[in-house]
């Protein structure tokens, strides 16, 4: 079972505010995921190259050619607040 402090730490890093009920459920869910990974971790993987990606690795790069960007009003449309043609956000003070 993931301990409470570790859970609170991870929640804070993810900017999640969890109430007492949510802490209980999340702890149970996270623990079952971690247990599953722990089971996988028991496999003997000596000499097996880590899988960084499951796709085709060849020819995965893009030529340095300019594509059209979004019109600004489209880019800004989902912004909660706009000022001076930019996304207005709370100050990152205290981060």
């Amino acid at each position: 079972m993931i301990d409470r402090d570790e859970l609170l730490h991870v929640a804070r890093l993810a900017r999640l505010a969890l109430d007492e009920d949510e802490l209980q459920t999340t702890a149970a869910e996270l623990s079952s995921i971690l247990d599953h990974v722990a089971t996988i971790d028991e496999l003997d993987l000596e000499g097996i190259e880590p899988t960084a990606h499951i796709g085709d690795v060849e020819d995965s790069l893009r030529a340095d050619q300019v594509a059209r960007s979004l019109p600004r009003e489209v880019a800004l449309a989902p912004a909660p607040a706009i000022r001076d043609d930019g996304f207005l956000v709370p100050s990152p003070q205290g981060e």
């Binding site: 960084a52 990606h53 690795v57 340095d64 960007s69 600004r72 880019a75 956000v89």
Partner: protein
């Protein structure tokens, strides 16, 4: 503890914006100076479902940097997600490299390189509210034009030992990157940014002390001043028996004040994991051979060429090779008059740069051909060193043609035995007592006689020639 017993240990982290046409993982054109938020797309805005694809040219530039720094190039490298929340990072993570960077190890000048990796730049935050400083703002405006710009992060081993050495090495790195053509390397505009890790330890110790990180200094002078100030701050703490706290610091070049940005424990939990949207970067033979073929002459090779082919002193060769602009100016001076002695030309370039401070020679009022002409006037004894320095002063202030300045101000050297001999004779005659001492082998008063001749010629005689004439007239060997 005595002051001399503590030595600084400095490591540098340099972020270089690569001069590609498009961003690291999308086709948006790089957007320096464009109206805000006009160079964005779903990828660099971090919209759900958008897929990044790495820019082949950015990888190529990374390989060029790795080759220039004598690094080991990874046949396969991977991208990772570096997770943290900040409004300039729309995905909640930065795509960077972690345990398999593009380049590992290496060396530039005397400094060993730890690694070079590729990543994406963050967006630009404009803080609104009281003051411009990050910790005083109330709200911020995000401009995503810069977000996703390709960056190479170059990390040195912690083995620099002074602010001056760090400044000099950064100039070499900047020259190298500029020569490679991979970046604008403009510190004011932020295309070259430097952080310094600084700690102190007892001299000779191989243990590292607690380090602090000085963030984002945007000129060579600020870097040198910032490092110096932080070294002194730590020294004072340690000598007072207090402890240095590991933290990130901001240096204000105006007040020289150092303030804490954030403490380290809080900030460093990045939970790196492999970026599932990007396959590993596999470096092919053709990519390697293309990079090798495009490698230009680098400062170290240029330094060597100056020494071997133009017989410059080691000091001159390094000065000109490590500052490419100055080297180019020197080349232009030599080109303007191929009969010039290269070392003499280099000396005049150094004289000029000494008068210009931070200004580049090519931006000054002294054209390369004017400096070549000045060096030639000295070489042919038309003017002496003192006269030439006067001409140079005038060139720096007002520009013009050396020959014309010499004529205008009557600075022609008084030279040749026939002109100087009577003046020397008169000087000896006017100082019979000194002359007698000289004759008896006491050479000390010779300076007085030379000075007398200089006075008579208003400084236009050649000192060595005057000395030779004095010896000749007195029959001294």
């Amino acid at each position: 503890m005595a002051k001399a017993e503590l030595e600084p240990v400095i490591g540098l982290e340099i972020h270089v914006q690569l001069r590609t046409a498009t961003k690291m993982f999308c086709g948006c054109a790089l957007g320096f100076g464009e109206p805000p938020n006009t160079r964005t797309c779903p990828v660099c805005l971090g919209l759900p479902g958008a897929l990044p694809v790495a820019n082949a040219e950015a990888i190529h530039y990374g390989l060029l940097i790795g080759l220039a720094l004598n690094s080991t190039l990874a046949p396969v490298s991977t991208f990772h997600r570096k997770n943290y929340f900040y409004p300039d990072l729309p995905k909640g993570y930065q795509i960077s490299q972690f345990d398999l960077p593009l380049c590992s190890g290496g060396k530039l000048g005397e400094v060993n390189i730890h690694r070079v990796h590729l990543e994406e730049d963050a967006a630009k935050l404009n803080h609104v509210g009281v003051g411009g400083r990050i910790d005083q703002a109330n709200s911020s405006i995000v401009d995503f034009n810069r977000g996703g710009t390709p960056l190479a992060e170059i990390v040195t081993e912690p083995e620099l030992s002074s602010a001056e050495q760090a400044g000099q090495w950064l100039r070499l790195l900047r020259t190298t990157l500029r020569t490679l053509g991979v970046s604008d390397v403009n510190m004011e505009e932020g295309s070259l940014r430097c952080d310094a890790n600084i700690s102190l330890r007892p001299a000779g110790s191989d243990q590292l002390g607690v380090k602090t990180e000085l963030k984002n200094m945007n000129s060579f002078r600020f870097i040198e001043r910032g490092i110096r100030a932080e070294v002194e701050r730590q020294r004072a703490l340690i000598e007072a028996g207090e402890e240095v706290v590991q933290e990130t610091l901001h240096f204000d070049p105006r007040s020289e004040a150092i303030t804490s940005l954030r403490s380290k424990e809080e900030a460093h939990d990045y939970r790196y994991f492999p970026e599932p949207d990007l396959p590993p970067v596999v470096i092919s033979e053709s990519m390697l051979s293309r990079a090798a073929a495009e490698l230009p002459e680098l400062p170290a090779a240029r330094e060597q060429r100056y020494i071997e082919q133009q017989s410059l002193s080691a000091e001159s060769a390094r000065m000109l090779a490590w500052r490419a602009e100055l080297g180019d100016y020197f080349d232009a001076v030599c080109e303007a008059d191929r009969s010039l002695d290269a070392q003499a030309a280099a000396n005049w370039v150094a004289e000029l740069q000494g008068r210009l401070g931070d200004q580049e020679a090519e931006d000054s009022k002294v054209s390369a051909s004017a400096l070549a002409q000045l060096a030639a006037l000295v070489a042919s004894s038309k003017i002496n060193q003192g006269g030439a320095r006067q001409v140079l002063d005038q060139l720096v202030n007002e520009g013009g043609e050396p020959a014309a300045i010499v004529a205008d101000q009557g600075l022609e050297a008084v030279g040749g035995a026939e002109q100087l001999a009577p003046i020397v004779a008169a000087a000896l005659e006017a100082n019979p007592e000194l002359t007698e001492r000289l004759r008896s082998g006491e050479m000390k008063p010779i300076g007085v006689i030379v000075g007398e001749v200089m006075k008579q010629t208003r400084g236009r005689a050649d000192g060595e020639q005057v000395t030779a004439l004095i010896r000749e007239q007195l029959g001294l060997s």
